[in-house]
Amino acid sequence: MNKILMAAIALVVGAGAGFVVGKGEKEVVEVEKVAEKSASSTMDAVKAKGHVQCGVSQGLPGFSNADDAGNWTGIDVDVCRGIAAAVFGDSSKVKYTPLSSKQRFTALASGEIDVLSRNTTWTMTRDTQLGLNFAGVNYYDGQGFLVPKSLGVKSALEMDGANVCSQTGTTTELNVTDFFRENGMKFNLVAFEEADAVVAAYDAGRCDVYTTDRSGLAAQRTKLTNPDEHMVLPEIISKEPLGPVVRQGDDQWFNIVRWTLRAMINAEEMGITSGNAKSKANDNNPAIKRLLGTEGKFGEELGLSNDWAMNIISQVGNYGESYEAHVGPNTPLKLARGVNELWSKGGILYAAPIR
């Protein structure tokens, strides 16, 4: 009896340990093998895992949002999918980690995620003090204000004394503080952990003003009880270049992320879409051929296959397609291209050439 009990206890302990560490242990085995080859290369770690771990928002329509089935969509998500297409030739090899704005940098710095593509503003502090590298800009945004129309406010300069709602852990808090100080106005800031709580509090009338990036305002406005009773004020109080972020000190991975984004922008400029990418591969234009990998060995220089950009464009699409599908005028967000138009069409999107 004693022995049986002993064995049963041993089995329980073993089973418990196995259940708990099971998942982790397997990864340890895999990753250790990689670590022998070369120390701390994100690219190698990603290849060993078989997927890109991408940090996204906890739900911002148009940028990164999960539907009922758990499928993530949005222009930030398309960057992640593009990276997966470039690395694996398969845009579905991404796993998403939803992060609050408070957790995102810690998650990236700790190696929890490989790339952060979560409407993150490029600032000098983040580039230097936080040890991050911004791989480019996938949406030029600016911070704005959403107010109820019933207040009859026409300009942000009339807002002296307002109660302002925002999300905590973002540049919005700093910008709005600066804006009010600069204009000699007073305000009270109510900063929430999650965007949903901000919307609910604003909707309930806790604040007169909701401030965040204008794209975010457009997205969150759709969640209000009566979206048409609210308006975005004309003022843009900050520059908010949003883009994907990687850790400092891994130039290869940094290049892959940066050129994934550029490939998407260049593709739009050259008129390559997900539909015609295959047929354009043998186009007469050498720039197109270089991009799609039929000429030169640009992919191999990145440590990828030469059809890396071909995979991105045929599976994810070019920048314009991504924009139209997720945030453009035909989506609930109804955001016009504006400054996010190509430089050749009056915007400021300008990607370095591939040559």
């Binding site: 002993m6 064995a7 049963a8 206890i9 041993a10 089995l11 329980v12 302990v13 073993g14 089973a15 418990g16 340990a17 196995g18 259940f19 708990v20 099971g22 998942k23 982790g24 242990e25 397997k26 990864e27 340890v28 085995v29 895999e30 990753v31 250790e32 990689v34 670590a35 120390a39 701390s40 770690a45 906890q58 739900g59 329509p61 949002n65 999960a66 539907d67 009922d68 089935a69 758990g70 796993k95 998403y96 980690t97 939803p98 992060l99 609050s100 957790q103 810690t106 998650a107 710095a109 700790s110 190696g111 929890e112 949903d196 609910a200 759709t222 969640k223 209000l224 009880t225 009566n226």
Partner: protein
């Protein structure tokens, strides 16, 4: 006259019928008197009148509050609620006239079609729809096993219980993840060899073939061997691919995650808590200090910061490249946290034990572990069943905090369902919160009722 009276002295020969008790004491009136009016009908002095009036006031007030709340809830959940959305107009089904819908202005009740539409997401999260049968099967197995163990009239309860603790986790793990883990065959087979030899050494040394020192520690060696071999065999088992589609924990969500975190936490926190409690009362100063510091640390810090550390800072403390699954990390955080609480509950039980029990066990010549297993713990644990179940309930509710670190548990899935603008209406959030609250209530209330039932049963068995 007096004569006559003397003659007619009446002596009762039959017993009179018993009078009925005063009307105040029986039937509906009596019940009402005892349970309601006795506390508010004493006007014999100024102080008592004041007290009675106050009591009457409070009674009326609480009755009013309770009654209106119940009426409101019934109205909100059933009567006024929107139950179907036959035309598929989504959010407009729950809009009032001013918002552009068809419901009268001032309408405020649950919007159930929204829950029906989100039900899969709230229960399973993003788990692939084609694979849901696996979750359901796991759930059914778990439910049947649990009922079997809990219902006292069924046979083989002990065996089923052991199977639930050993075989079931393995099955659940394989079903839920798909079990397609990779494993290094060479290292695991060498580990198995090592553990086999450990067991052999344990056996040999127990019989005294390997000297006195090893004989003393034979049990420990054997135990290590058994633990190691079960672990390795388990890993081998888990690595077998049964042709199931692998589903990463990133795709788990909703009630599934809540239950996985809660059940694993409950199963692991009890033994760990017992060990910690024993450690805190140990004779060894180092062990005592360590356990005390450990318990007080976990009891002293908020779970939010523990989870924040577990979710984003753990990679900083581990060697480069080593990483744990996010769910596992949250699990470890929750488990250590509740183990510390459990330890304090168990310690309370140990302290309440009569010192004579310890001394008697020692006098019988039982070793420390024997006396704990056979004498002390069975008594101490039954004493603190309410405390243990309260800790379980606390743990179950604390699983909501994993939504703060980005796991889509029941509450997290609910919150992300609110983010869907195609269902946005003023009652969207409250409906889903209500639904989530009802689910939590059902589980926690069930646990607390079962604990009361157990307590009564045990106290009955103790009293005779």
């Amino acid at each position: 006259m007096t004569q006559k009276f003397q003659q007619d002295v009446f002596v009762r020969t039959v017993e009179a019928d018993t009078l009925p008790p005063p009307a105040k004491e029986t039937g509906v009136m009596g019940w009402l008197w005892r349970n309601l009016f006795s506390s508010m009908m004493n006007y014999s002095s100024f102080g008592l009148s004041f007290k009675s009036l106050l009591m009457a006031l409070f009674t009326a007030l609480f009755f009013y509050i309770g009654f209106t709340q119940i009426v409101f809830l019934i109205d909100f959940i059933f009567v006024s609620a929107v139950w179907s959305d036959p035309t598929g107009i989504k959010r407009e089904a729950c809009w009032t006239v001013t918002q552009g819908g068809a419901l009268p202005d001032g309408w405020h009740a649950a919007c159930w079609p929204f829950i029906f539409a989100k039900l899969k997401f709230v229960i399973y999260g993003p788990y692939p729809i084609d694979e849901l049968w696996r979750v359901n099967l796991t759930g059914i197995f778990g439910l049947v096993g649990l009922l079997w163990v809990l219902l006292s009239f069924l046979p083989y309860r002990k065996q089923v219980g052991i199977a639930m603790l050993t075989v079931y986790p393995v099955i659940a793990f394989m079903l839920l993840t798909g079990g397609a883990g990779k494993i290094d065959l060479l290292s695991s087979s060498s580990m198995i060899l090592i553990s086999l030899s450990l067991i052999t050494i344990g056996r040999l040394s127990k019989r005294g073939f390997l000297g006195i020192i090893l004989q003393e520690f034979a049990n420990i060696i054997g135990f290590l061997g058994w633990a190691l071999i079960s672990y390795e065999v388990l890993m081998l088992l888990l690595s077998i691919d049964f042709g199931l589609e692998p589903v990463g924990t990133g795709d788990w969500g909703g009630l599934l995650i809540t239950l996985v975190v809660a059940i694993t936490g409950i199963v692991v926190s009890l033994p760990v808590g017992i060990l910690l409690a024993l450690g805190r009362r140990s004779d060894m100063p180092v062990a005592r200090l360590l356990c005390t510091v450990f318990i007080e640390f976990w009891r002293g810090v908020p779970l939010i910061s523990v989870l924040f550390m577990a979710s984003v800072m753990i990679p900083l403390f581990l060697p480069e490249g080593v990483n744990f699954d996010k769910l596992v990390r949250a699990l470890i955080g929750v488990m250590l946290f509740s183990a510390a609480y459990m330890a304090e509950v168990v310690r309370g039980g140990l302290q309440a034990m009569d010192k004579g029990q310890y001394e008697a066990a020692e006098a019988m010549g039982l070793t420390y572990w024997q006396s704990m297993r056979l004498i002390i713990l069975p008594q101490a644990l039954t004493h603190v069943i309410p405390g243990i179940v309260n800790t379980f309930i606390g743990l179950f509710k604390d699983t909501t905090l994993v939504s703060i670190i980005g796991l889509f548990d029941l509450l997290g899935a609910g919150k992300s369902a609110i983010a869907d603008a195609s269902w946005s209406s003023p009652v969207q959030a409250i409906t889903i919160y209500l639904f989530v609250a009802l689910i939590f209530f059902a589980f926690c209330f069930g646990m607390s009722r079962y604990s009361i039932y157990m307590e009564n049963k045990l106290s009955k068995s103790r009293s005779h």
